[in-house]
Amino acid sequence: MEATVTTANSEEKTWGGGNEPMGASYGKLMMWFFIVSDALTFSGFLAAYGFSRFKFIETWPLADEVFTHFPFMHGVSAPMYYVALMTFILIFSSVTMVLAVDAGHQMKKNKVVIYMFLTIIGGLIFVGSQAWEWKNFIKGEYGAIETKGGSLLQFVDKEGNRVALAEFAATLPEEREQLTRSKGKWFMDEPSLPSYSVAEVQAGFKAHPELLIRTEVITKEKKKTILSREESELRLSQAHYVVEGANLKRNEYGSKLFADFFFFITGFHGFHVFSGVIINIIIFFNVLIGTYEKRKSYEMVEKVGLYWHFVDLVWVFVFTVFYLV
C-alpha cells in the first residue's frame, strides 16, 4: 500500500484532502474552474456575434455611428470616448482590487478595507455607466423606416449628415389610437406606437426635396450607400414601419440581430459586474469585522479578486468586438 502513495508528504492521504493539486488551494482552484467555463460561455456569445456579423457583413451597422453620446454634451458626436472612460474605470477598479490582495498578503487590514471600498465604488460607477449607455441605445436619436422586405432606411441631407424623423415628418390629420387591453375585444394590445406614421414620414419626405435615403449596404469606401432622389422615393414607397430607438424586435441602427447581441452580451457582462459588486461588498464587510484577521489569511480577498479581474478581462474583449471592430 505504501508504494502507491506518490506525494512527498506521506503523512497525508492523497484522496482524503490535505493535498493541494497544482499548488492551489481548493477555493482558488474551483474559482479557476469557474473562470474557464465562464470564459468559454462568453466566447460562445462573442463567436455567435461574429457568426451573425459575417453573415450580414455588407449591411452590419457601423459602431462609431451608433455609440456617439457623452454625458452633458448634447448634439456632439463623440464616438467611443464614453466607453473608453468606462474601460478606464474598470481597469482602475482592477488595480485597486489587486492592491487590496497585495495588502492582504501583508496582513494590513486597513489598507485592504480602503482598496476594497474603492473597487466597489469603481464597479458601481461602471454599472451606472452601462445603464446610461443602454438608455441612449434604447431611446435612439434619428429614427428610421423599415421596408416590407425587412431592410432599414435612414435619412440624410445633401451632405450626407443624418436627419431625424422629427425634423421633417409632416403632421397629418389622421388619428391612430393605441390599442390597449381595456379597449380590446379579446386579450389584445400592441406595443406603443411610434411618434409618426409611415404616411407622415412619406409626406414629409416629399415636401423636403433636399433629403435622401441611406440604405444599410456598405460601399467599397466602407460607408453606407446613399441613394439618388428618384431611387429614394421608390424605396420609401415600400415603407412598412417606423422604427425609433431599439428593442429586441427591431432597431434604428440596422440589422435586427445587432441590438439583440448588444443587449444580450453587454447585459450578461453587466450582470457579472453587478454580482461581482455584491460579492465584493460581502467580503468587504467580512474584512471590516476582522474575519480574515482571525483566520490569519486574506485568501478570500484573493478569490473574489480573481473573479473581479475576470470581469475586467471579458470587458476588454466586449469593448473590442462591439466598439472598435
Binding site: 493541494e20 497544482m22 499548488g23 492551489a24 488551494s25 482552484l29 479557476w32 473562470i35 474557464v36 468559454l40 466566447s43 460562445g44 463567436a47 455567435a48 461574429g50 457568426f51 451573425s52 456579423r53 459575417f54 453573415k55 450580414f56 457583413i57 455588407e58 462609431d64 464616438p79 467611443m80 470616448y81 473608453a84 474601460t87 478606464f88 481597469i91 482602475f92 482592477s94 488595480v95 482590487m97 489587486v98 492592491l99 490582495v101 497585495d102 498578503h105 501583508q106 422586405g149 425587412g150 431592410s151 466602407k222 485568501e299 484573493e302 479578486g305 480573481l306 479581474h309 475576470f310 475586467d312 478581462l313 476588454v316 474583449f317 469593448f319 473590442t320 466598439y323 472598435l324 471592430v325
Partner: protein, 116 residues
C-alpha cells in the same frame, strides 16, 4: 500559496500604465482610422481590426498574468487554464466564422435575399 510576501506594488502600477497606454492607442486608432490600415485587408479582415485584436490579446495577457497572478502559479495550473481556453476558442471561431461567411455567400449568390 506562495510563501514570500513581497510587495508587488511597483509591478501593479507598471501594468496599469501599460493597459492604459494600450487603451489610449486603441481609441486613438479607432477615431482616426488611418486609410492605409483601414482599407487594406489581410485574410478578409482589415489591418486595423487585426491590430485591435492583437492589442486586446496583449491586454488580456497582462490582466491574467499580472492581475490574476497567473505568473506566480505552478506551470501545471497555468497550462491547465490557458491551453484549453485558447484551443477551444480558436476552434469555435474557425467553425462559426467559416459558416457565417458561407451563409453570406448563399444570400449573395442565390435567390434568397432575406430570411431571418
Amino acid at each position: 500559496m506562495s510563501h514570500e510576501h513581497v510587495s508587488n506594488i511597483g509591478r501593479i502600477w507598471k501594468v496599469f500604465g501599460i493597459l492604459s497606454a494600450v487603451t489610449i492607442v486603441e481609441v486613438y486608432l479607432g477615431i482616426l482610422k488611418p486609410d492605409f490600415l483601414f482599407m487594406n485587408d489581410f485574410l478578409s479582415m482589415n489591418l486595423l481590426n487585426w491590430i485591435f485584436y492583437a492589442l486586446t490579446i496583449f491586454k488580456a495577457y497582462y490582466i491574467v498574468y499580472a492581475f490574476m497572478h497567473m505568473e506566480g502559479e505552478k506551470s501545471s495550473l497555468r497550462s491547465a487554464v490557458v491551453f484549453p481556453v485558447i484551443f477551444l476558442i480558436l476552434y469555435l471561431l474557425f467553425i462559426l466564422l467559416t459558416e457565417g461567411d458561407y451563409i453570406y455567400e448563399v444570400f449573395k449568390n442565390s435567390t434568397i435575399k432575406w430570411n431571418f
